[in-house]
Amino acid sequence: MPRFKARFDRLSHLFFPLSVLVILLIINLLKGADYFKITMVNGVLYGNIPNILYGASELVILSIGMTLVTAAARGQDISIGESGAISSAIFVQYVLNAGEVTIWTILVGFLISCVAGLVIGAFNGTLVSFFNVQPMVATLILFLGGRSIAFIIDGKVSPILANPISNKIGTVIPGVPIQTPIILTAVFIALVAVVLKTTNLRLYVEAVGINPNAARLNGINPKKVIFLTFLLMGVCSAVAGFIAVNKVGRHDSVNLLKFIMMDAILAVALGGNSLSGGKFSITGSIIGAYTIEVLNRTLLRLEVNPEAIKAFKAVFIIILMIVASPVVRVYARKCLGKVKTFVAGNAIGKPGGLNQAVISSMDSSAKKEE
């Protein structure tokens, strides 16, 4: 029992994002019972759930990077959409100039775009870590100028990426029942999970985010860690740009991944992470990203007036944040503690009831002290 409780406590931060997701899914089910229906068309799975997984793939990848940056640098990167546009522009140019397109061309192009992402991450990271500029201000530079750089790399308005391989990456590979972006996202998540499990990255990032001075005294160089998170963010945005450009099939430097940083920051916050750094939960951010996609699709499904969608989204976010705010949480915990002691007080007469009452009253008093 105590072991189970400990495990539950460790996962309790996921309770909030998961419950939001469940509420949204229930709303969808009430609208139409066939929400979870999955159909097979030409050997590929289609339906609402695969569509959500497909639509949110870039957002999930970006929110992973954003979580790391937020945790270490105590600020947000607002240039992720722009850096994705630049790195994917380089990818598109490489593929278009390569002549015959093979799987190797795509792979080399992808690696080159990752290098471009690293360079962008290094630019932002240098400003934040070595020049001590606040992350939002440092990334404001690329936010203002990034789309123009992407346009100059393109050389013209939206070059078209028409070849069978990138078409397969954007949609489906014949014989595989799941759309390729979903698989790529899953692979990426698995890679991140392996990295976080096998390396000290999580420990270092959290240490730097909680207190950079204390981390420095313990032998962790905060500048290096913050720089590293920005490099990872660059890679994440390059991967997201790669997926996005293959999905669309052409590179639109103005609209590719536009304003996605707002959604990514929102995903981080919905996942129960603090936007002022410190401990983080990648799982929470991933669930948050999917929640945002579900929310967008739910509003469309409920046939909300397209003009008013943003307002509804705003109201939903505000309600969520009020429910999750520290003040309301403390208040709710107090009420819960009172209810617990009341129930336990009624149960004293029964066998074993006394034990329970003592434990629960201790529990509630401990929680009050928090």
Binding site: V137, A138, S148, M321
Partner: protein, 366 residues
């Protein structure tokens, strides 16, 4: 200040003052370059006044953002609120239901409503300001598109008269090719800007709220130990920012004369950039309010300079980004060189003069 601080006759410059001086020098430098490269257009006083005439709304938005940034927060909904106000006022004036005063109070009301919402949620429910103001931005944009989608031109005679009203300065002006003297013109929006700058500068320097805000932005914990009502101070900073955004929407309508979906878009980013150039840091507690208009002027001068140089439109954004990069790096190097000598709490000089014991302890912790 020297009289208050007899033990240290040579008081060090506060960070706020230093950054403000840097901002001022940068502005003078940029304007000097502009004067040297394009003497014909920049020598005219009208060019300088046109910065205010055409961008009065941006100046006002930057002021509101400055107050929130000094308090250590951020408000990214200001641009959207400004746009919403223009459309709402245009609708009101066109429908014939209200007069100009009605529109002005509607602008104030919308701004106040957003400010109250943000302030309550951020100060009293302790929600992260970025997320709440992001939601506010979505809300304002959603309401804007629900109100009206197409551009709406205001044709009400009283409003058009106010809009085309110009104040002439008879002793300043230029003589055109025909030898006719053209005096400089100022639009009504500029008066609002000047009044607000003076009002806010006085408020930040001499009132209790302004001083509290610096203390809260500098270090929330030590401000609480000093007995400052932190929540109330933050709450009022957001209310003020919302109100200012509302006023800026009305001024925007006075400038362009039409409600449009694109009105005030990206103003929040421009305002942040302008404030950073004006020496107001996002961390809070540092910055002079007069830095906000100076920073905006620098930003506008750069844009005008690039436009006058005939740079390709795509390179314009890149060049202004690079200049922003240079300023940010310069600021950070100056601050780093300064910090190497001695650690000092980033507080304005009038708070340093009367340093109470509680703050000393907090300063040692930091």
């Amino acid at each position: 200040m020297g009289a208050l601080n007899p033990t240290k006759p040579k008081a060090r410059l506060a960070n706020s003052t230093l950054l403000f001086i840097i901002a001022g020098i940068i502005f003078l430098l940029m304007y000097g370059i502009a004067l040297l490269t394009f003497p014909v257009s920049f020598k005219q006083f009208q060019t300088f006044f046109d910065f205010f005439n055409l961008n009065a709304a941006l100046f006002i938005v930057t002021l509101g953002m400055c107050i929130v940034m000094i308090g250590g927060g951020i408000d990214i909904s200001v641009g959207a609120v400004c746009g919403l106000v223009t459309m709402a006022c245009a609708l009101l004036l066109e429908s014939g239901a209200g007069n100009i005063w009605g529109a002005f109070f509607l602008a104030l009301g919308i701004g106040l409503a957003f400010g109250l919402m943000h302030g309550y949620l951020i100060a009293y429910l302790e929600i992260q300001p970025f997320i709440i103001t992001l939601a506010g931005m979505f809300l304002a944009q959603g309401l804007l598109t629900t109100l009206h989608r197409e551009p709406l031109n205001v044709t009400r005679p009283a409003f058009v008269a106010l809009r085309s009203y110009r104040i002439e300065i008879p002793w300043l002006g230029t003589v055109n090719r025909l030898g006719v003297f053209i005096p400089c013109e100022i639009r009504p929006g500029v008066i609002v800007v000047v009044v607000l700058v003076v009002l806010y500068a006085i408020m930040m320097k001499w009132t209790r709220f302004g001083r509290n805000l610096y203390a809260v932005g500098g270090n929330r914990q030590s401000a609480r130990m000093l007995g400052i009502n932190v929540k109330k101070t933050i709450f009022f900073s957001y209310v003020l920012c919302g109100l200012t955004a509302g006023i800026s929407g009305f001024v925007f309508l006075l400038t362009t004369g039409a409600g449009n979906i694109g009105n005030g878009s990206l103003y929040e980013m421009k305002a942040i950039a302008a404030n950073v150039m004006g020496g107001i840091l996002l961390n809070g507690g540092v910055g002079n309010l007069l830095g906000a208009p100076i920073g905006t002027l620098t930003l506008l001068t750069i844009n005008e300079l690039i436009r006058a140089a005939g740079v390709q439109s795509n390179l314009q954004a890149i060049v202004s980004g690079l200049l922003l990069y240079l300023f940010i790096v310069l600021q950070s190097i100056v601050m780093a060189l300064r910090g190497r000598r001695q650690f000092k709490l980033a507080l304005p000089p009038w708070l340093k003069g009367q340093r109470p014991p509680g703050e000393q302890a907090a300063g040692n912790q930091g």
